[in-house]
Assembly symmetry: C3
Homo-oligomer: 270 residues x 3
Amino acid sequence: MTLELKQMMDGLRAACPLVHHITNYVTVNDCANMTLAAGASPVMADDPKEAADMTATAQALVINIGTLNERTISSMLAAGRRAKRKGIPVVFDPVGCGATAFRTETARTILREVRPSVVRGNISEIGSLFGLDARTKGVDASSEDAGRDALTLARDAAQSWGCVVAVTGAEDIVTDGRGGFAIDNGCAAMGRITGTGCMCTSVTAAFCGAFPDRLLEASAAALVFIGLSGEIAWEAAKERGLGSFHGALFDVASRMTGDRLEKEANYHET
Amino acid sequence: MTLELKQMMDGLRAACPLVHHITNYVTVNDCANMTLAAGASPVMADDPKEAADMTATAQALVINIGTLNERTISSMLAAGRRAKRKGIPVVFDPVGCGATAFRTETARTILREVRPSVVRGNISEIGSLFGLDARTKGVDASSEDAGRDALTLARDAAQSWGCVVAVTGAEDIVTDGRGGFAIDNGCAAMGRITGTGCMCTSVTAAFCGAFPDRLLEASAAALVFIGLSGEIAWEAAKERGLGSFHGALFDVASRMTGDRLEKEANYHET
Amino acid sequence: MTLELKQMMDGLRAACPLVHHITNYVTVNDCANMTLAAGASPVMADDPKEAADMTATAQALVINIGTLNERTISSMLAAGRRAKRKGIPVVFDPVGCGATAFRTETARTILREVRPSVVRGNISEIGSLFGLDARTKGVDASSEDAGRDALTLARDAAQSWGCVVAVTGAEDIVTDGRGGFAIDNGCAAMGRITGTGCMCTSVTAAFCGAFPDRLLEASAAALVFIGLSGEIAWEAAKERGLGSFHGALFDVASRMTGDRLEKEANYHET
């Protein structure tokens, strides 16, 4: 199957979905700016008194536990349930799952209670959420720690959870448990700045908000979008360094076109 | 009336007022850096145990409800009251007012209890705070949703609330209910990165902190400052994209001069 | 004594220590990115239910009270105690100490209960924490307010607290109460963007995490690293402005080498 990347990109920008985020305070500014660069509109609201109401105004919901705290767990659950009831996609990023018992248990509670539409994480996080005995080193990917390969894990998790699962790393895997894609866009420098994983999750929610009936393709398009933006940005900035790379990532993303996505996407079906 | 923009710019930089912010975690870093670029000094402190005490050390207070949460509402109220008692300006940004009942009610409570010196928002937010049946799409401007034009709304609100009101959009309106200004500096790209509204509020507080007896002119100067910075930054960065635009905004603001403000300001009295 | 800067830089990058931060939401993104640029790995987690557990996975801990709030004080104390028990360095940044009673008292509680390995602040903050009657203007340095010179203060505090103390300003002082260093790298523009102090603390923790038995030298290396990065970045960006300076700081830091540190370090023993 060929991804309709031009249609996806143009459709996202035409729809400009509102993406409600309950997310961490480390990368939230990057998530907002990347959501805008992709062509969607971000809103962040995490108080239990309004989280679900804000979700009711949105076309997609991000739940990101990067700086998980007790105050907002109930917001995450309430917003997640409202999103499901409303029929809009919920994209869950179990940041750092496996690093502490609190984080792992909360991630599992969210998975069970909300039943997200898409789960995106690195192989340690997804492995830990799935119950494998992986260890997460902080919130960064550590491919060697994982006991299985990403493709098998993603498929098993997607089937078990009944949703799309994206395992990102040197190669990104995304699957609904039946078919899927392996995406080779991206570059190692994306692991040397904070927030590329979180931004990937936000952009996934943006594409899913525009194409709620095509979650697998929308998620794959998001992975291509972020990976290709990173590749091009690094090529432009690598002689200057990580600050320029960070800025260039938003430059490239904001000027990305459907044609360029189609031309430079690097993926195959799995 | 002609705005004394050179006097305002030089006066702000000479005074270097301390601007206490109780604000959101999405754009707080941008607010701090823009406050510094304008020539003031930022401090952020939001715990109920110290918010009012921090205000007591400052020359202006920003209350921004972007990521409103129950924990800091009492801080906002206590800091606001302390500022009023001390006689320093309070600039209120009712981010997303109208998007949820919690947000609208809290914004109205702050308005009523604190009686801010300046309120700045887009037309949906100000309309909703004023009691019009506008709908806010997330926290972004949506001029078509508003039932009246910005000038009438700003005047009515300013008279009703007894303060300066700034309604920002393609054209910015600022009024004390009698006289006022319409400002045409700015560019559409400012809506494509997060934080330009919040930064406008922070800079308004910076100018008001330096000129507490001239709140209307100080607020107008802030709108010119941010709008012109955005215009120049976009001209410099538009071929690169939104990441470069974001960086250029701080470049231009930090090098803005009173002479340039006077020369390139684009406003008229209303 | 000559600092072994090349050994320190290379050793940090080889060790890639995980640096757990309990820090403020204003500069947290900069702290994460600077930690990465220096060659370490950041993780941020502040909930009482997981803070100490996250520390248990790390090689160093940062406690930064920039946006101090009651919810995370117990996290700071628990994480600090766990770090000490585990034998990893705790670097404490008493941001704004002296500005409010709550901040000063909490900073003293952390000092007493955790007994940090390194304390870094400006002269007002360290003076206030030490009990001098200094006044902090917001969170920025105000050297004139201090009643003693930085070197005497740093020595006295280091002896009294039994730890390394760094007092940063136009000249940076770092001492363990016996020997120490005065470092002249850096530039005034570092005070015109937010976060350089916090980033200095994060990088101090990174170096200390890699060299837990050589805290004085590691802290000095961190001050040279940040100061020199700032100097070079300002030279490259000063004609553009503060936005470019901010980006260039990460560019330079991410490309810093041990050889360059050795060649351009500007310090003497005290």
